[in-house]
Symmetry: C2
Subunit: 147 residues, 2 copies
Amino acid sequence: MDEQTPSVLTGLPSWLLTQSAAQAGRIVAESFAAAGARGYHFRLLATLVEFGPASQAALGRHSSIDRSDVVAALNELEADGYVDRIPDPDDGRRNIVTITAAGRRHHRRLVTVVTKAQDEIFAPLSATDRTRLTTLLGRLLAHHQQY
Amino acid sequence: MDEQTPSVLTGLPSWLLTQSAAQAGRIVAESFAAAGARGYHFRLLATLVEFGPASQAALGRHSSIDRSDVVAALNELEADGYVDRIPDPDDGRRNIVTITAAGRRHHRRLVTVVTKAQDEIFAPLSATDRTRLTTLLGRLLAHHQQY
DNA sequence: CAAATTTCAGGGCTACTGAAATAC
DNA sequence: CGTATTTCAGTAACCCTGAAATTT
């Protein structure tokens, strides 16, 4: 940052939140890009690893990705051989999405990559402060995700 | 959120940060939209109010908006009569951007709007926790903005 | 000459809407 | 019938790059 930021902005909690998130997002996005991926890919693969094969709609609900964006991201993951997409024999509306062995390797790679990024992002904070921050953010997120 | 989020994600500090920021950003963006504005407008007007007339490049540096996006946002603000854009007589490369009386009124409106949004965003946190959070985020942001 | 400014054209990523076709 | 799923087309906002024209 070259010059001073208006105090009207720096005094806004939401500004601190969105701006620091933008910095974090930039670092994570660059790390993913270097590994040939982006955020949606990681979120979908992580969901498949944790919950197993699922329909696209279920994947979207788990990973907070819009149904429409799930389609596009899965197209890319499928083209790279990281997931299989087959029609559900029990429900003609659905596809069953499964992660492949290559997909699991890719996912492990991305976990490593994103874990390293955490250190760069939260470098200025002690372990205690990181815990304090994640606790507060966790409460914030939980509040806005319930309904 | 309908279904569970993978623990690989919820355990990532950067995920908590970017997701809670996304929620905050959505609330702020909706508030701005209801007032006929968006984030860039507010950031530019706040900069003009705090630092006075400035060139577009200086505005961009103050508000962390790319030179290219400053052009587009100023086009909109100018069309609405919120800023004046005149060539700098002392430097043929520059425009001098000035906020108008209507622009100041618009800015005050947006300050009210964005202040109200803070309460909705940080509702689950006590005043003490809000201070803790903003302190931690401020340190994070300061670290990534220096070089 | 190099550097700064404005402008335009364009892209990437996340997030979202509306509509169609299909199946439950 | 209403609801759910997949897919496509399109939009908004923010962030960023490259290049041209102009001026310092």
